[in-house]
Symmetry: C2
Subunit: 380 residues, 2 copies
Amino acid sequence: MFELLKTDAHTKARLGRLTTAHGVIDTPTFMPVGTQGTVKALDPRELREMGTQIILGNTYHLNLRPGLDIIRAAGGLHQFINWPAPILTDSGGFQVFSLAKIRKIKPHGVEFRSHLDGSLLFLGPKEAMEIQRALGSDIAMVFDDCPPHTSTPREVRAAVERTIHWARECREQPRAPGQLVFGIVQGGSDAALREECAKAIVPMQFDGYAIGGVSVGEPESEMMKAVELAEPFLPADQPRYAMGLGTPAQLVEMVARGVDMFDCVLPTRVARNGTAFTRKGTVIIKAGFNKADFRPMEENCDCFACRHFTRAYLRHLLNVNEILGIRMLSVHNSHLFLKVMADVRTALAAGNFPEFRREFVANYVPSRKVLSTRKKETER
Amino acid sequence: MFELLKTDAHTKARLGRLTTAHGVIDTPTFMPVGTQGTVKALDPRELREMGTQIILGNTYHLNLRPGLDIIRAAGGLHQFINWPAPILTDSGGFQVFSLAKIRKIKPHGVEFRSHLDGSLLFLGPKEAMEIQRALGSDIAMVFDDCPPHTSTPREVRAAVERTIHWARECREQPRAPGQLVFGIVQGGSDAALREECAKAIVPMQFDGYAIGGVSVGEPESEMMKAVELAEPFLPADQPRYAMGLGTPAQLVEMVARGVDMFDCVLPTRVARNGTAFTRKGTVIIKAGFNKADFRPMEENCDCFACRHFTRAYLRHLLNVNEILGIRMLSVHNSHLFLKVMADVRTALAAGNFPEFRREFVANYVPSRKVLSTRKKETER
């Protein structure tokens, strides 16, 4: 299922290949996020053209709209959205804890009110696995308890215990044919809890392991630490997935720490705000300084947007609220994340990942948001 | 410049070919509208794939944003928007009379306040031609006075006189290299005024003639009448363009009345409202009755949207406000308008246009809006 092709001699970076029911994924890989059954603003052809091998679907959202009956009638999520390649579905746990305003944690899951119409719903290990079985995703995630960054040590411990308990329940549920299931390690930035959680989850023998509870508002250093604390306890011959992050430079750093899989809404979300990712950091394409700049968003980029359009034109489109502007920034940003991972794989194959990493991170100007978390760290 | 290839034996329908600086246009033709430098939600590749030979650009809007300096610096509109095929630009007259709230008609144009920021602007024959020269469109339109449907006979007469006067001024302005200029015939539904206007405009020797003042809120019968009144006075060996209309069935009827060129915002506007055009009329794709309908929007349609997606999926996308829904309905609707014109040309070439027309119009269920205008007519 997972072939570990090569491990970097100087870092923990790994080159691999993951085989699923709907196709092969070269790792390290970036997975564009298709929350509601579409990667926002993009169509499947565009996704394939930029090298997408796997996308994400969202259990919580798809269960609310269009609902399981519709997706079942369509013959599963791949058929419904016409994406014949691999799909990973999250368990809905993250949304239950972040979106639903009113919730009550019970032994076998969470009772909560829909963020859409307030209707009373229940999601737990059994339900999450049943929904993911109906969706027919290639990789299903266990239902976990993902506490916010601001949680007390006591709350983090409770979340770890629930995550372990629920993982065991998930493990016992039936799966869709060929469906892989990944366990999730929680534990915040507490070394003992990360170890404890990993040591409880790994013996359950999942097909891969995710590091959860990252990218939940914590400083960058804590995000890195969480991964460093969990990674040593994950089996080398199985894929590792760091959930919901990050910037291109953070992804490269995570690869160096032994992570194989990533997903993030940043490429499309930042696009909708009129900002492009580049290998040198972000550029506000919507800004007035681009109005007569006839270069592409990024020099030497071979994405559809950079091959066809200038910053000046894209700036105009964003300025007058034309959908094509958002579309083309979504194309470019998603392409960049995928291309960086492709470059990482090339570097790993060639044996020069440490040089690639050093150069990439040195060239990448972090956003003010990331810098502010670094500053806070230093001040402590 | 314009080759009249064939005239139908039983109707006034014509098969033709119009050669412009950026390419050839087969007529009858439909021109997707790119108001602000983009056909809403579509990219140039999608436009070419659906058979688009010419698109529209908008003098009023492009002059406000991004402004002429930017488009000049880009090397013209084709370069700025990366559309290497023909472009027709309107003169801005229609927008000055429909969008600008405060305006003062003067001998050489109209003083008005921008609908965006209220700044004082002036647009007349000289300015409109100068802007269109800078845009570098293949076909420029003269600056006319397009009165609303509710105008008094006296106002329509004044508009005709101004239109004639301004057309003469436009005729004297310099053009971009190879740029064609079309005259516009106004006159509402007044036979004498339509004749008078046409007889004044045609001797000015434009490269083609548009019938203006249609699709300005009048009943369908008056729209047809306006075209019927103007057409006999237009030279047979030059292209005729009915501005800003209509439904697919209306276009076929207009072809039968001797019109060669059409533009309309309906395909993309209606798409944004969640409705699809089909050969049998419109279908509200966003409606709940489509939620488990796994057929394409239109059977046997070979557009990108119908080849890839079901009504159920598109309904879901529209329901959760995903851009891909609007995109795919814009693709389908624009494709349909272009395909109907392609079918019209095939029928004309085969000599069976009257049968095509009869069948098409019989199958096409008019919208309630169109039906209501027909009803009013009957009640008079």
